[in-house]
């Protein structure tokens, strides 16, 4: 097991190098760089811009900029400097990581807690009225753009006279120390992002769970379990569900990183203090090291997420062994 983990982690290194080269190339395809926006600014003299470029290292060829960036990471753990914020990139990302992970984890918890029971119900009550309703809601959930759902929910709350809309806190609690009132305020705000961001994933999970369970319920060992007189509850939860849930666990690792960076647009609509909107601004501003670092973070999370999912699967499913 230990060997397996080490091998997997080592195999990530060449992949990450390739990913970083590719990301840097893509960013460099963008015409101009951070300095160019000042060329059109009459208040900034061209000499200043040239000086700025030199100071930021943007006058050097792309491969040297890349090598310098990599060298900084390896030798000093320095992920570079944000041009727009004039601060180290790692610090900026770290500040936003907390809320990003909180919102993403809460969303994931919410979707799994709802989707698994609904999936089990739909499979065990196939073609019942509620199964049709859930299937229908599922199709809508997959088809509605999450930013549109976010907008509709915000509108509905406002139309009802509510004010807990946009962001994660009311104004008076932003920056205030933690208290029960602040937590309550958070709960009042967070349900909109949970539903808006989570619905599509939840609909997918319900469908998968339903399909897998139906598949498993048709297997012979389920028939055997029933034939030897086990209670239906035991047959379903101990024999069928445990096997039906395994394929979902292997998807788990990709979900968190996908939630973190895949919801850029709904986070903009909902005015969330998360990574998504921040990344988008950096991209538009050509803040290259910020963009690079975020892309790399995202990739590392995805790779580590997959590894964790594989380990989790081995832990849950005794048939899987890594040697």
């Amino acid at each position: 097991m230990f060997n397996y983990i080490v091998r997997r982690i080592l195999s990530m290194i060449p992949l990450l190098i390739l990913i970083s080269i590719l990301s840097f190339t893509v960013i460099k395809l963008q015409p101009g760089e951070f300095g160019s926006q000042y060329f059109n600014n009459p208040r900034v003299s061209p000499e200043t811009v040239i000086q700025l470029r030199k100071r930021l290292g943007l006058d050097q060829p792309a491969y040297r900029q890349y090598l310098k960036w990599v060298k900084g990471i390896i030798t000093e753990g320095d992920f570079g400097y944000s041009f727009a914020y004039k601060r180290p990139v790692a610090e900026l990302i770290w500040e936003r990581m907390g809320w990003t992970v909180t919102v993403a984890s809460a969303t994931m918890l919410f979707t799994w807690l709802l989707a698994i029971p609904i999936g089990i119900y739909s499979a065990t009550h196939k073609y019942s009225f509620l199964d049709y309703i859930f299937t229908f809601i599922g199709f809508i959930g997959i088809s509605i753009p999450n930013f549109f759902l976010a907008l509709v929910l915000m509108y509905l709350v406002l139309a009802q006279g509510g004010t807990a809309v946009g962001g994660l806190f009311s104004n008076e609690y932003i920056g205030a120390p933690w208290s029960w009132a602040k937590l309550l305020d958070l709960l009042k705000h967070i349900w909109i992002p949970l539903i808006a961001i989570g619905t599509a994933g939840m609909a997918g999970l319900i469908r998968q769970m339903r399909g897998n369970l139906l598949d498993v319920l048709g297997r012979q060992y389920v028939q055997t379990a029933r034939a030897k007189g086990l209670k239906e509850r035991v047959v379903i939860y101990k024999h069928a569900v445990r096997n039906a849930i395994n394929p979902l666990i292997s998807m788990l690792g990709m979900q968190l990183p996908q939630l973190i960076s895949g919801t850029i647009i709904s986070a903009i609509v909902l005015n969330l203090p998360t990574m998504g909107p921040f990344f988008y601004d950096a991209l538009i501003n050509q803040d290259q090291y910020l963009v690079m670092t975020f892309l790399m973070f995202s990739a590392i999370m995805m790779l580590v997420g997959n590894l964790i999912a594989d380990l989790l699967l081995a832990w849950v499913d005794p048939r899987i062994r890594y040697d």
Binding site: I140, P145, I265
Partner: protein, 283 residues
């Protein structure tokens, strides 16, 4: 090739029994008619500005209301369907072609070709596709063509994996060996013999891919990275009304519903196709 028509007929027969797929197909046909007949069907020109009639609620004159510049929303939605469908078709075409060719090379030749292509797949899989699409369009510049290109470039992985898997399992089967022995070229074996036998999952993926591409396009347009105004697109219309949702709910809501219904139709059809092509579900 002789088995193909019969497979096709079986699928068609199954599809006719699938109510969901039929609903999806009918909606898609309807949207297609709307997109093609846009100049005849829309009550006004989609770019006609009339500041005197700005933000009017839905009425007999403007069925779905007007936007900030007094443009008729129904007409803009009708014309917007063209953008969504074109982006969907072209993006799916690009990703399908890239995916099929790379998947076929990987699955047929194996060894280093497979290794190389699968590394490429690993790299793409390390990013959520919307993140890559946004990055690409931001880098390449906002335009219709770049949106199609970006969506196509980030979504071929699924096709490549499916085709590779199919080819790996088929490359030592009798019909391929027979073709090889009779001296057929690689090209012919891949495109005439192996690919037609792997079409079923590709068609399902392409249909569901249309749904995904349309959502991604609307997301990019919403960010201002899509088709540039005044050409109407649903995502951009949705974004226009975003800040005035309270005064004029119709500006955002109707384009949002248009996206949802279109995506729903492709999801329903794709899902139905998958069921129809699954021998396990046949009765």
């Amino acid at each position: 090739m002789h088995s193909l028509p019969s497979t096709f007929q079986v699928v068609l027969h199954q599809l006719k029994k699938n109510r969901r797929a039929k609903v999806g197909l009918y909606i898609i046909i309807l949207i297609l008619i709307v997109a093609i007949g846009a100049p005849l069907l829309s009550p006004a020109h989609p770019e006609n500005i009339n500041l005197g009639a700005s933000l009017q609620a839905p009425s007999f004159q403007h069925w779905l209301g007007t936007d900030k510049l007094g443009r008729d929303i129904l007409s803009r939605i009708i014309y917007g369907s063209r953008v969504s469908l074109i982006v969907g078709v072209v993006a799916v075409g690009i990703s399908g072609i890239i995916g099929i060719i790379l998947g076929a090379i990987a699955g047929y030749f194996g060894k280093w070709a497979d290794h190389f292509i699968m590394r490429l797949v690993d790299i793409l899989l390390a990013f959520p596709s919307i993140l890559l699409a946004i990055t690409l369009v931001a880098v390449l510049g906002a335009s219709l063509w770049n949106v199609m290109l970006a969506i196509g470039l980030v979504s071929w992985v699924g096709y490549a994996r499916v085709v590779r898997g199919e080819f790996l399992s088929k490359r030592n089967q009798e019909f391929v060996l027979a073709a090889k022995t009779s001296g057929a070229s690689y090209f012919r074996i891949i495109f005439r013999h192996m690919l037609p036998n792997s079409m079923a999952p590709i068609i399902v993926m392409a249909t569901l891919g249309m749904a995904g591409a349309i959502i991604t396009e609307s997301s990019l347009s919403f960010l201002g990275l899509g088709v540039q105004p005044p050409t109407p697109s649903w995502g951009q219309m949705l974004s226009d009304g975003r800040t005035i949702m309270r005064q004029a709910w119709w500006v955002s809501t109707f384009p949002g519903l248009a996206i949802m219904i279109t995506v729903l139709a492709f999801n329903l059809l794709g899902d139905g196709l998958r069921d129809a092509m699954d021998p396990k579900l046949r009765n």
